[in-house]
Amino acid sequence: MSNQPISLLPSNLSEPKDPNQVKQVLEAALLTSQDPLPLSELKKLFDDELSTEILRRLLEELREKWAEGSVELVCVASGWRFHTKLEIQKFLNKLNPQKPPRYSRAVLETLAIIAYRQPVTRGDIEEIRGVSVSSPVLKVLEARGWIEAIGHRDVPGRPILFATTKDFLNDLNLRSLEELPLLEEPGLLVEQRGSIELLSVPEPIYNSSTPESL
């Protein structure tokens, strides 16, 4: 099989003869792959004879071709992949009565802290949340492959440092952590809310009500 020359891509040409055929191969590879395929992998399909620019252009063309379809081609942290459009999911759910995991607030808040403040220790998370973080919470996220221990902080007890994984980004359709939603500016919260304005005022008002209320 390997002896057959690939007429599509003569080795002495850097340009493929038939971009449509290249696109078909790309499409098939992406439709069949379990994991996102980075450009470096996609290049292997053509014995590394296609340049990154050509592949990118053809992938963009593929993406456009599918824009109207039931599935879409996207680029996530680990590479390119196809997935169904969001509006289709409600139909697909009918085939799988098994509900996908929905996470508790404890899990989500822990995940947010790890995502935005990484690398963090369990102690850091507890400090921010004001409650202890139970082991199952971290286990759920580890089992999902969204967080991982990446080392220890060099303090007494050498607590484990957690960070999010590439799969976390992939599963949320993100290419990098920078694509995470921006954090709310804390300053704004104070201004908007008169009720805690008092707390933020440098000079407290020692009003008469205070002693009584105590």
Partner: protein, 270 residues
């Protein structure tokens, strides 16, 4: 969004002695009966405090601390049974509030320090805001489309050819196999293969193939018209070797007559 941030208003927070409790208390007094539900509803004291501040414009410092303390101390007994750890966190929060309040009641030193962080409330506020920031971030994260929950990965079957991939063998494999054999059998001299011998053997196979299914073959048929001297010699050697191994018989009915090469195989099978 509000659903996420706070308990819903439509469902009772708790049922206390059969009476549905529709609303979260407006301050940190939590009826002991509802406590357990409460601990489930809020992520912790920061969450509760934040909720009270946001929802009910609670003036943190207006909370009647003495009463609160008395009540919270009573909880300890109730909570000791199960969620002691969480209860402790609520207590700690209460203690912090009381500390803040009591510090603020003290007469302020006339010469103020410039260090803002001496304000006991600053730290609490910082924590509240940081927690709120993460709480919102968690909600945003949850809103991001998630694999399996909101979309499904495409996975098309790769159609494989029926034929399995066959093992590849190269000449080195063969040579190594042969070497192994020779070593094992200690028969190197006997089985040493020379180029000439291989060539003879190759022609032996050819002659046997030519004879397959035939009674005989004429001697001169064995030598192609284009055969060079070397090939003629090798073919002849092959023929002799076949005779020696009793694989063929050679016969000539009369002098200068046609020489026939017969396969002993054919002879016996007929």
């Amino acid at each position: 969004m509000s659903q996420f941030l706070s308990p819903t208003n439509t469902n009772p927070i708790a049922n206390i002695r059969g009476e549905p409790m529709m609303e979260v208390p407006r301050d940190l007094f939590i009826p002991p009966d509802a406590l357990e539900v409460f601990l489930d509803t809020f992520q912790g004291p920061l969450d509760l405090l934040l909720y009270l501040i946001r929802k009910h414009n609670l003036e943190v410092l207006d909370i009647p601390m003495a009463e609160l303390t008395r009540q919270y101390m009573a909880y300890v007994e109730i909570m000791r049974a199960n969620q002691l750890e969480l209860a402790a966190e609520y207590l700690l929060m209460t203690a912090l509030l009381i500390e803040i309040k009591s510090r603020m009641l003290l007469p302020r030193p006339i010469i103020r320090t410039n260090e803002d962080d001496l304000d006991p409330r600053a730290e609490l506020m910082r924590r509240l805001l940081e927690y709120e920031q993460m709480k919102l971030a968690a909600q945003r994260l949850n809103d991001i489309p998630q694999v399996e929950r909101d979309f499904t990965l495409v996975q098309v079957l790769i159609e494989q050819t029926v034929a399995k991939r066959l093992p590849e063998v190269n000449v080195d494999d063969l040579r190594n196999a042969w070497i192994t054999l020779v070593v094992r059998a200690q028969v190197n001299r006997h089985h040493r293969v020379t180029r000439a011998e291989l060539s003879v053997r190759s022609h032996m196979s050819r002659i046997m193939r030519d004879l397959r299914g035939r009674e005989f073959i004429e001697f001169n048929e064995l030598f192609g018209p284009s055969a060079g001297v070397a090939e003629v010699v090798v073919t002849f050697l092959a023929l002799l070797e076949l005779v020696k191994e009793s694989l063929v018989e050679i016969s000539q009915s009369q002098p200068i007559g046609i020489i026939y090469v017969k396969s002993t195989d054919f002879l016996t099978s007929v």
